[in-house]
């Protein structure tokens, strides 16, 4: 049910209209500056004016006064950023790609982020439309977590606001977030600025009838507001009501405000698809003259209005001068901050927002020496025990995914954890991998350690955008933001294969900058790597091989609650001099058997992690054996073995007395019938034959 704007003869007690005018004028002046000077002067390359959307965004921004509020928007969200306090020189400098600002010139100026310890922050936006929604839902869920589980009163009343255009309501992320917000009653506001276009695509293709508010009017658990974003009073009232509704804990709300897009999508867009009449009609709805008419003379004099306009222009000029002084970042530095970095003395160069360590978490003792205790346990038990321990000592850890609650996960790994820690900390999610990973991003930025589970490797496909954007977050914000998390994912074959449950494809994550990738072959390594990930400052893919979860060869005694294995250290499971075998996961035991069968003296290295991987150990081994065989389950072309082979051929060239070889599955999905599957997998016989062939070369 949409609220109706009440007529108001006088300016409402809030907002601070002078401030509104000031901010809108600044936004307009920046739009004009960019369009008329900076673009022609080729000082900026991506330009998105916000004319028409500015008043609504400013009004909304001025409502976000809680220190723990957060927004996440899209490329046309500069006005709200200004309202939150982003400095003009940062906005301009970022547009010009200079050092400092949002990203040190690493990202375009329209992709904003705003860390703010004392006020509302802007979660790092992404270039892809629709990606803003699920992280915002995650942030909102984190607000609830801080309030209910951590009893942090500082989060009382905080909300998350996702801004998007009318076209964004067609995206996967929008619907996934809507599901989350409404089913979990999250303190989240969906702010939809409806200008009727997604670049050139009209709104009726994004939602039937072009009005998402009307379509969602009866959506259970969602308070819907709909109005005119160009009417100062109406917009102001609706915004205030929507924000209040969410702040009061009454559940999520969606506010749609109709606004005109008074220029093209971007500077490049000539709007040839709009008729002259249409454009004229849009300009007639320009909120700025309406604002002037509304305020002058009842709230301020014409002179005051002019003064505000002049001051805004001068401020923008001043900011331009400052921004133009800013240098371009040192090009060599562009490789920094893909991952968490330390200074010379080993102290972490912490991001400004996001992660456990920002929240001054105490660091528990850790050792990389295992202290095995008791009987051997399988990987399932080992992982569960590690999660259990970390959940118990770190209240910021939360474990979630499809069926991880009462069922304990389809592989049984989380069995009993919800019972022990409650459904606020261990819970089932909706069937949306985008939602699972997206919310983890928001939670991580809010200072939690989310441990999302993707049920099977292949099901990570829908989450790819969120996975990629999470990985690059530290780099593209130049270390202002990071979202450390541990994504648990079963990989590989089991008793049978199939294209949907048996994929490995670890290389995809290695190829996504910013992700650490762990692939333990046994229970001890699983404990050590998982613990390091759960206490770390980088996002980690923790790959649990299905066939190794209960395999006899993978069982080990529990190595202790302090055992935390550093990433990037291979384990030499067997020492030998004739050939180096590099492998991981389920192939480790097969390589050992293959070496036995071939009667070869093999140096077998279990990499344990693929990002980073232990290049030094591999090259040192090849320096001794002069032959290198890589065995992995993933398909051949472009599998991670190709990377290892390239490095060995390059850096170990003068040590090689035989070609670097790979033994893998062929370039096919996993076949279902066990006989077909076994034939396609690297078998012990095939490994032995390859070893023999190489040793005889």
């Amino acid at each position: 049910m949409s609220a109706r704007a009440k007529p108001s003869p006088r300016p409402a007690p809030t907002p601070d209209w002078a401030r509104v005018v000031s901010l809108v004028q600044r936004s307009r002046a920046m739009d004009t500056l960019e369009e008329t000077r900076l673009i022609p002067e080729k000082k900026i390359f991506y330009q998105f004016s916000a004319r028409g959307h500015d008043m609504g965004q400013v009004l909304l921004g001025l409502q976000l006064t809680h220190p723990k509020d957060a927004i996440c928007g899209y490329y046309r969200s500069r006005p709200i950023l200004l309202a939150l306090g982003v400095r003009l020189e940062d906005a301009l400098g970022s547009s010009m790609g200079r050092a400092g600002g949002y990203s040190d010139g690493r990202d375009i100026g329209a992709v904003f982020n705003y860390p703010n310890a004392h006020g509302a922050s802007a979660l790092p936006m992404c270039g892809g439309v629709g990606a803003q929604y699920t992280p915002t839902a995650g942030y909102a869920q984190a607000v609830e977590y801080h309030r209910r589980v951590l009893n942090d009163r500082a989060f009382d009343g905080a909300i998350g606001v996702a801004l998007g255009g009318d076209a964004s309501v067609a995206t996967n992320g929008f619907w996934s977030a809507l599901t989350m917000a409404t089913t979990l009653k999250l303190p989240m506001l969906f702010y939809v600025e409806d200008n009727g276009y997604g670049i050139s695509t009209p709104g009726w293709l994004q939602t039937p009838g072009s009005n998402i508010a009307e379509n969602l009017a009866s959506f259970s658990g969602l308070k819907v507001y709909d109005g005119d974003g160009t009417d100062p009073d109406a917009a102001s009232t609706l915004i205030r009501e929507a924000v209040s509704h969410v702040r009061a804990g009454r559940g999520p709300a969606l506010l749609r405000l109709a606004v005109p897009r008074l220029q093209g999508h971007s500077f490049q867009d000539t709007q040839a698809y709009k008729s002259k009449d249409e454009i004229a009609s849009e300009w007639s709805r320009d909120p700025l003259p309406k604002l002037k008419a509304r305020l002058v003379p009842s709230a301020m004099s014409a002179a005051e209005w002019e003064a505000l306009e002049t001051e805004a222009k001068e401020e923008v000029e001043r900011a331009l001068r400052v921004a133009e002084q800013r240098p371009i970042a040192e090009p060599r530095g562009v490789t920094r901050f893909v991952f968490s970095e330390t200074d010379d003395r080993g102290k972490v160069l912490l991001q400004q927002e996001g992660g456990l360590w920002n929240a001054s978490c105490a660091r528990p003792p850790a050792t990389d020496e295992p202290t095995p205790e008791g009987a051997r346990i399988n990987m399932i038990t080992a992982i569960r025990r590690t999660l259990d321990h970390e959940l118990s000592i770190n209240p910021r850890v939360l474990v979630f995914g499809e069926d991880v609650g009462p069922k304990g996960g389809v592989h049984g790994v989380t069995l009993g954890l919800q019972e022990k820690y409650g459904s606020d900390r261990v819970f089932d999610t909706s069937l949306s991998e985008e939602g699972i990973i997206g919310r983890a991003v928001g939670m991580a930025i809010a200072g939690l350690m989310p441990v999302p589970e993707i049920q099977f490797r292949k099901y990570a496909d829908p989450a790819c955008e969120q996975i990629n954007d999470c990985g690059t977050m530290r780099w593209r914000t130049a270390n202002r933001f990071a979202a450390p998390m541990v994504v648990r994912m079963p990989v590989g074959f089991f008793k049978c294969g199939d294209p949907w449950h048996s994929q490995t494809n670890e290389v995809q994550f290695v190829h996504s900058p910013g992700w650490r990738v762990a692939c333990p072959s046994n229970a001890e390594d699983a404990v050590g790597l998982l613990r390091t990930a759960l206490r770390g400052n980088d996002p980690v893919m923790f790959l649990e091989h299905r066939n190794m979860l209960d395999a006899a060869s993978a069982r080990r005694p529990y190595p202790g609650d302090d055992f935390a294995l550093r990433f990037g250290i291979a384990k030499r499971v067997r020492e030998g001099g004739d050939i180096t075998i590099v492998t991981w996961g389920a192939m480790v035991e097969r390589c050992e058997a293959g070496a036995d069968k071939a009667g070869a003296s093999a140096d077998i290295l279990d990499l344990r992690t693929l990002s980073p991987w232990d290049r030094e150990a591999v090259l040192a081994s090849v320096g001794r054996t002069h032959r290198c065989l890589i065995v992995h389950e993933d398909i051949m072309t472009g599998g991670f073995g190709a990377e290892i082979a390239a490095v060995v051929a390059d850096e170990g060239f003068l040590d090689l007395d035989a070609p670097v070889a790979r033994l893998t599955m062929p370039d096919i999905p996993s076949p279902h019938h066990p006989a077909l599957m076994e034939w396609a997998l690297p078998s012990v016989e095939r490994i032995a034959a390859k070893i023999e062939e190489m040793v005889r070369f």
């Binding site: 002069h626 003068l654 040590d655 007395d657 035989a658 790979r662 062939e693 070369f697």
Partner: protein, 395 residues
Amino acid sequence: MSTIDILMPFEQEGSKSVIRAWLKKPGDAVKQDEPIVELETDKVAVEVPSPADGVLQSIALNEGDEAAPGATLGVLNTSAIPDARSETPDPGTNAKSSDPLGLGSAALRASGRDDEIEMRLSPLVKRLLSEHKLSPSEIAGSGRDGRITHTDVEAHIKRAPLGPRKIPHDPMRRSIAEHMSRSVATAPHVTAVFEADFTAIAAHRAKHKGQYEKAGAPLTYSAYIVRAAAEAMRVSPNVNARWRDDFLEVFTDVNIGMGVALGEMGLIVPVIQRAQTLSLKETAARLADLTGRARSRQLKPADVQGGTFTISNHGVSGSLLATPIIINQPQSAILGVGKLEKRVVVRDVNGADAIQVRPMAYVSLTIDHRVIDGRQTNVWLTRFVEVLESWPLED
């Protein structure tokens, strides 16, 4: 190398057997019980299995030949390392069999040149060859297709001396080098060769050596040679001379130096002073003393000074003849005595030629042709040989 004959089975159904087809060719690796050749009788076709693991070395009977029971069909080499090439499937037709998935490196799978040796060198092998300054032609390859592997290179390095041997010159080597070069540059060396019959010497020595020994003068052939040389100087005195810029200095005393080999330490030449005055016994005694002290490194400077003539007993170490023997500066000639060995010679016996076996040695005089000419050389040698050959049996 051990081999086994591949035999035709004794019991065959049917009357005669004919070789139908060889399933392996020479050079192929075979495993025990693997069929090697197919036989055909008028009743059945039979496979003959390999008696052991090895390499088929040769075929005795060809396809179409009749094979009698027990006949040797071929020979199996059981100690050969199977030619790795033959175990790699022909990539053209059989790539699938060892690589059914179509995976794996082509380099490992395919041996490209069926009958050629793999000459290409791996990066490691190239590096090792370069570091040790070796040529691939020096090294046999034991890898696939005869490829040189790094173990082949390393084995070669272990066996061979480390690089070219470099022995720094010691002072003695430098001294010898200087002396020899200078001598040859100074004196035009010419050599005349005679042969000497040592029958008379041998007879005298046999008769008297015991007594000489008791007298502290052990009789060696060298003693006779020194005496004969001293005698020869009488008839050709210029052999005992020294070239000076404006005159020839002909010495009265014949101070004969005798080369003594000192193994690794080289050569030393102690001098028998005034040899013309010494009897055989005195010569022998002097020789024994000098060579003994030479070998025990107890010579004094005076022992090696003042020589006017030198004798090189090179035949002791086997050479029949050596020329030129480099003159010991500032002397004018050097006598070389070759190996003493029994030879067949022709002698006049009662007016007729007779073949006899005599102890003979070539004796050569290398002269400085500035000082002496051919005639004086031969005169000297004639007398020298005469003294040796006519040595009286009694003292």
